[in-house]
């Protein structure tokens, strides 16, 4: 059940009405109702995986309870290891067997069978949240819940279930201690986030994907150097539009139900350094990696050499988290190496002169673009073909379909949205604040309708659904 569909609109309307009615009349039933809604949402993707999700949730709760009763580090390790094995089975078994098969053949053994394993939607996200709960309880940042209900609602809450943001147990569980205050719903902010997210995804990201990025990455040899470069920049904008659009919608939907998710993207392409980029891009993942991986590895407390090792390892594992492919390994490694080099050159300090700042921005941005080529390419052969197309291919445009005025306008609009003043949404909110509720509903409805009518037919899955 994708957010920008009619089915989801009906589902959300029912959940919204049921939730606030229960908050008013039967607050004790709010959490059971939310859990049921979350499971219906997930069952629309897969019923068997719904049972598996519940199993992970119950395991997480049981481990948290044990850890909370002082059974310590051993139980925590067991809890984390089991959910990581769960993730590993679905995500990495096929990849590892495929890679090991030629080695087995070289050793005179028969080829290894590679099973077709379906990846449960959102597994990477809910496993990281499960780890967050167990570790937060161990650290004392979250309370060990006596009943599994709150932990299950936390893990399965539908706005973040399929593709994040990764919500921290220590931040979200306290919100479930009491029903939200029905007198304080940030509806203008929530509505603007949903509208903005819808526009980013339906209007801009989908059209960039189908009109430019997908055709070039599918067959790089058929395109000229300029087309390939445009597609590489186009994908960098597309993935920001797609993923930040999803995050905005998730934050907005949760807000309409009275719950809070923290910001997940903060104009990442404004970053002057790579470390700043990671403070602005997929913030819920980068802070998760910092707090649950980088710091436990030793962070930057030890020698410079150990800090660099920790940085490399964290980014490498961050890359592998995204998917079982060499392209993701190299993506993580490239970011890790670039962060290490930046640190070694003292590059985290921002230059004082405007020219120095522009140069620093350009370097950072192009490292990000180059890394996203690895992220988007289905395999290393495609990366090689793209590189060959840029450096060795025809400099002129082989095909001119990539350069339609509409696509260029979409790229410009995407960049405009990204580099808009940071307080633009707040200003829009201030402008809409005086409108009476029915008029506000009409404005939001007409804007949503216009976005849907302007968008290409169909709804392409969000990029982060595959993770």
């Amino acid at each position: 059940m994708l957010f920008p569909t009619g089915l989801f609109a009906i589902f959300f309307a029912m959940v919204f009405a049921g939730h606030w009615l229960l908050v008013r009349h039967l607050p004790a039933l709010v959490l059971p109702f939310l859990l049921a809604a979350n499971l219906v949402f997930y069952a629309a993707f897969s019923l068997p995986f719904c049972a598996a999700l519940l199993g992970v949730g119950l395991w997480t709760w049981a481990i948290g309870r044990g850890v909370g009763q002082g059974r310590g580090r051993g139980l925590l390790w067991l809890g984390v290891a089991v959910v990581l094995l769960w993730l590993g089975w679905f995500k990495y078994t096929g990849f590892l067997l495929r890679e090991a098969s030629p080695i087995a053949v070289a050793l005179g053994l028969p080829p290894l069978p590679v099973p077709e394993i379906l990846l449960p939607v959102g597994i990477s996200f809910y496993v990281f949240q499960a780890i967050s709960y167990m570790v937060d309880v161990h650290r004392g940042d979250a309370r060990a819940e006596g009943s599994p209900l709150k932990v299950l609602v936390y893990l399965t809450f539908f706005p973040h279930l399929a593709a994040g943001p990764i919500v921290r147990a220590g931040r979200f569980l306290p919100q479930l201690q009491a029903a939200p205050d029905r007198m304080r719903v940030p509806v203008v902010m929530g509505g603007l986030l949903i509208l903005g997210g819808l526009a980013k995804k339906m209007l801009l990201a989908n059209e960039l994907a189908t009109g430019l990025v997908d055709p070039v990455f599918r067959d790089p040899g058929a395109w000229g150097a300029a087309d390939i470069l445009l597609a590489c920049y186009g994908y960098t904008i597309q993935i920001w539009l797609d993923f930040s659009g999803y995050s905005d919608m998730a934050i907005g939907l949760a807000a309409l139900l009275g719950y809070h998710f923290t910001k997940n993207f903060d104009q990442p392409f404004r970053a002057l350094t790579l470390s700043e980029f990671w403070r602005r891009w997929h913030i819920s993942l980068s802070t998760w990696l910092r707090d649950y991986l980088f710091k436990p590895l030793g962070g930057s407390r030890g020698s410079e050499g150990r800090t660099r090792r920790n940085l490399l390892l964290t980014m490498l594992l961050g890359g592998i988290w995204h998917g079982a492919a060499w392209t993701f390994v190299l993506w993580g490694l490239l970011h890790g190496l670039a962060l290490v080099v930046e640190r070694a050159l003292g590059g985290r300090a921002v230059p004082a002169s405007p020219a120095g700042r522009v140069l620093r921005w350009a370097i950072t941005f192009h490292i990000v673009v180059a890394a996203f080529v690895l992220f988007r390419a289905p395999d290393l052969a495609t990366v090689a073909a793209l590189a060959q197309g840029v450096w060795g291919g025809a400099p002129e445009l082989v095909q001119d379909t990539a350069w339609t005025p509409r696509l260029l306008a979409i790229i410009a609009l995407g960049l405009g949205l990204h580099f808009a003043p940071p307080d633009l949404r707040q200003r829009l909110e201030d402008a809409l604040r005086p409108l009476p509720a029915p008029l506000l509903g009409l404005v939001f409805g007409l804007a949503m309708l216009a976005i849907i009518l302007a968008a290409p037919e169909g709804v392409a899955p969000f990029i982060y659904f595959q993770f």
């Binding site: 919204f16 939200p180 029905r182 719903v185 509806v187 909110e429 007409l446 949503m448 216009a450 302007a454």
Partner: protein, 95 residues
């Protein structure tokens, strides 16, 4: 305190929520959500009929199809599909 993220947090990290975020009651929010969905349903009445035709055969399916067709006819009587077609063509310019 509930919804504490709507209170001032001087040294908090960047967040979409702020003390300036205007809040309304759940009842007023229901008006906003309900009317927004109504506008969507009006503009997408043809798509709703198509979706109803695609439903699996089950008790109630015939009723849902009849409701969807009635809704679409009502919207057609108001001239909404023509308006939607004009807007769609205008917004699709250059594709």
């Amino acid at each position: 305190m509930r919804q504490p993220w709507l209170e001032a947090q001087p040294d908090a990290a960047a967040d979409d929520f702020s003390p300036r975020s205007a809040t309304r009651t759940a009842g007023a929010t229901a008006w906003v959500v309900g009317l927004a969905l109504l506008v969507l349903a009006a503009g997408r009445s043809g798509a709703i009929v198509d979706a109803a035709y695609g439903l699996p055969l089950a008790p109630g399916t015939e009723t849902l199809i009849a409701v969807a067709e009635s809704w679409d006819s009502a919207m057609a009587a108001l001239g909404i599909p023509d308006w939607v077609e004009t807007v769609t063509a205008a917004l699709g310019t250059g594709r």
